[in-house]
């Protein structure tokens, strides 16, 4: 009886809700409003195009050395950025090196994110001794410097792209695991998770269907930072001589080789790879910042 007398408040709010935009659109709008994020996205597109499409326009031989052409300065005919100490065209080398760096960075960052997310989600959801054991392992891992682990791993196995992905992924999942555990801890006591448990759902479903999807914002944002970190880590290990073996190249290794010639004035061997590393890391960080704004529902729109 009252049901008929009182449809208005609910019915009216329905009109309001019809205008509301979906979560995806809202995020896209918030992301694109962040100028830095747009810049980062633009930089990424340019970098990827440069590394993967560039070789189609600028064909070079990155397998056979040409010692006669070594150390040509930028602007030499056929070599716009000059050549390195064994005569590889630098522009072409930046492209193929970038393929390695970006591939390893992206794949290792994603691997770390996946491991960390699952680890943390299980720890936070299970609680009790499972949580204690899982998180102490993480603490122990964080206590050992990642670079040290990388160097040890680098001396034990022959570095290759696949190997570097696995090794870097396996040392950098610790931080995402901690982040995800905190999210999971908060989400597991939400009523909708309890309601699902009441209808006979298992922990696996709670994690897969409710906890991870609801923490996806945090996970994605962290993944971008994770990729940036991985790109840097590749640069570190290559710089220390444990990167992919020649004739393959990557930016960190190029930087390392170039540094031996700084006193000879061969600046073009140092700056281009260095600038590209910085640009990549910055681009991923900018995108991460933008995504964080886009996923933060608490962010007040001004």
């Amino acid at each position: 009886m009252k049901e008929e007398a009182l449809p208005e408040p609910d019915a009216l709010s329905e009109q309001d809700t019809a205008r509301a935009e979906g979560p995806g659109r809202r995020r896209l709008r918030l992301f694109l409003r962040n100028r830095l994020a747009k810049t980062g996205l633009g930089m990424l597109v340019v970098l990827v195009a440069f590394c993967f499409l560039g070789p189609l326009l600028h064909r070079t031989d990155q397998v056979h050395t040409a010692l006669a052409d070594a150390h040509l300065p930028p602007g030499s005919p056929g070599h716009p950025l000059g050549t390195d100490d064994v005569g590889f065209d630098l522009l072409g080398r930046l492209m193929s090196g970038g393929q390695t760096s970006l591939t390893i960075g992206l794949a290792a960052g994603l691997l770390a994110t996946v491991i960390g997310t699952l680890w943390g989600a299980v720890a936070g959801y299970a609680g009790g001794w499972v949580d204690a054991v899982l998180m102490r392992i993480v603490d122990a891992g964080i206590a050992i410097p990642a670079l040290f682990l990388l160097l040890v791993a680098g001396t034990m196995v022959t570095p290759s792209t696949g190997m570097l992905i696995v090794v870097i992924g396996c040392v950098s999942w610790l931080v995402p695991a901690r982040l995800m555990r905190a999210e999971s801890l908060a989400l597991r006591s939400r009523s909708y998770v309890e309601a699902m448990r009441l209808s006979g759902g298992t922990g696996l479903r709670a994690i897969g269907k409710h906890i991870v999807p609801n923490a996806i914002g945090t996970v994605i944002v962290n993944a971008t930072f994770q990729v940036a970190d991985a790109v840097l880590l590749v640069a570190y290990v290559s710089f220390l001589g444990l990167g992919v073996p020649p004739p393959a190249a990557d930016w960190g290794g190029m930087l390392s080789q170039g540094l031996s010639y700084t006193y000879d004035g061969y600046w073009w061997l140092v700056f281009p790879p260095g600038i590209l590393i910085i640009a990549t890391v910055c681009a991923f960080n900018f995108v991460g910042d933008g995504l964080r704004d886009a996923f933060d529902v608490r962010l007040k729109e001004r």
Binding site: K2, E8, P9, D10, R190, Y192, E194, L198
Partner: protein
Amino acid sequence: MGERVLEFTGLEIGFATAQGVTEAVKGISFGVRPGEVVAVVGESGSGKSATSLSALGLLPSTATVDGSVVLAGDDLLKLSEKDLRARRGDDIAMVFQEPMTALNPLRTIGWQVAEALLLHRELSTADARARAEELLALVGIDEPGRRLDQYPHELSGGLRQRVMIAMALSCEPKVLIADEPTTALDVTVQAEILDLLRRMRDELGTAIVLITHSMGVVADLADRVVVLYRGEIVEEGDVRRVFAEPSHDYTRRLLAAVPHLGRAPARVVEAKRADEPPALVVRDLVVDFAGRRGAGKFRAVDEVSFEIAPREVLGLVGESGSGKTTVGRCAVRLQKPSSGRIEVFGTDVAGLPPRRLREVRKRIGMVFQDPASSLDPRMTVGECVAEPLVLGKSGSRAAREARVAELLDSVRLEKAHRDRYPHELSGGQRQRVSLARALAMDPALLVADEPTSALDVSVQAAVLDLLGQLQRELGFACLFISHDLAVIDQLADRVVVMRKGKVVEQGTRDEVLRTPKEDYTRRLLASAPVPDPVEQRARRESR
């Protein structure tokens, strides 16, 4: 009656958002005289809080304000920040809703009460402290001298709200704005705070603007009522006139929606059939929570026993901290009991292994309190409702789809809602979805933990009606947990009253709510304000 001490004229407030300016208040005018309580009533989004904040210049910077708010001859909206600051706390003061967050946890009570005095009056620290002690005594705090050196966390919610009122009264303001001053408090404490405000009005002649959504509070305290609806005044007048003969349709609907303690229709209680096991038996239930290190255990539920027959609605009432929610969570085994038996249709669930528990849980549905967290924000309404069906592996995909449609229809939601996401729904709609999900597996027992306490009254009325109707149609037993006696009165066949973890009284609804035997139940009943100023006055005087 004297001149109006505070007068709002043509007040308009807008908030700038990404979608453009939202008008929260659309040109309202009213005033308050010394020694008068004007209640500003409205549901969420009616603009009542924005109105009160504008008088103190506390609106966020995104707000645009038009019109005038005149306090004793000065337009507060045109004062400079410095002049306004001199007025705030001195001529006009405010009591906030949440007494915990409104007090600074790092400062003593004495320091906080004296703060306004030191700012507005030329007093020595010692004099301010003496005055603070007087004020605490004035608002009815015992041992005021000792309280001065205590910190907010050492006081109960009711005491903290008294401190807030003492602070607001410290400079004897002409106008006191009380924004939902009792919403966060238990009914017995609410009654005390309302008495205190009434005494302040009578003794000090303070003009009080009372912002509230509770018709019971209005009936208890207000002299005049201003009813706000979507930023406009739809009705204004003497409290008795508005309650007795509301002239606007919205006011009538609002009043009809408020559950009235003691006026619920009689219920036909079915005779229990001997061959059926009870839906829920709770025997000597004890729940201990581990305290902080060194603090020992905290007993949340202490030897609670009751039974729910099939098709019966049991109302579980209690104030905050009474353990009622913990009992509800034990019944569905979201909380493991420390000792005692919990039988659901004859099966003891207390020590059941997970696989067997899953079987029993299929016969139980649960509706949670907070509509904001009861649905997964990343699932559509249809997916939310279908989840128990998917988990219960019932039927084909098409059969599930049909069942979801049927369920949504039974909670009076449209087909179009199925593909919406929870954030696109209102609070009332979300609770309906929750109800549909709880009913998906055709449970024989429904546990509802304060399902309407976060909703506006009109929405609450609709949800309660729906719940009652479905209960009669589907015949499930129901454990209905609430702090609101009027709601319990409307819905329950039998009532259990809990206090500090123990059962105080139980019996049929009429026994417990009409002829209570225990003192505590009587006090609880007397404290709950009824939405009728005449009746409420009589109740107050007989208290």
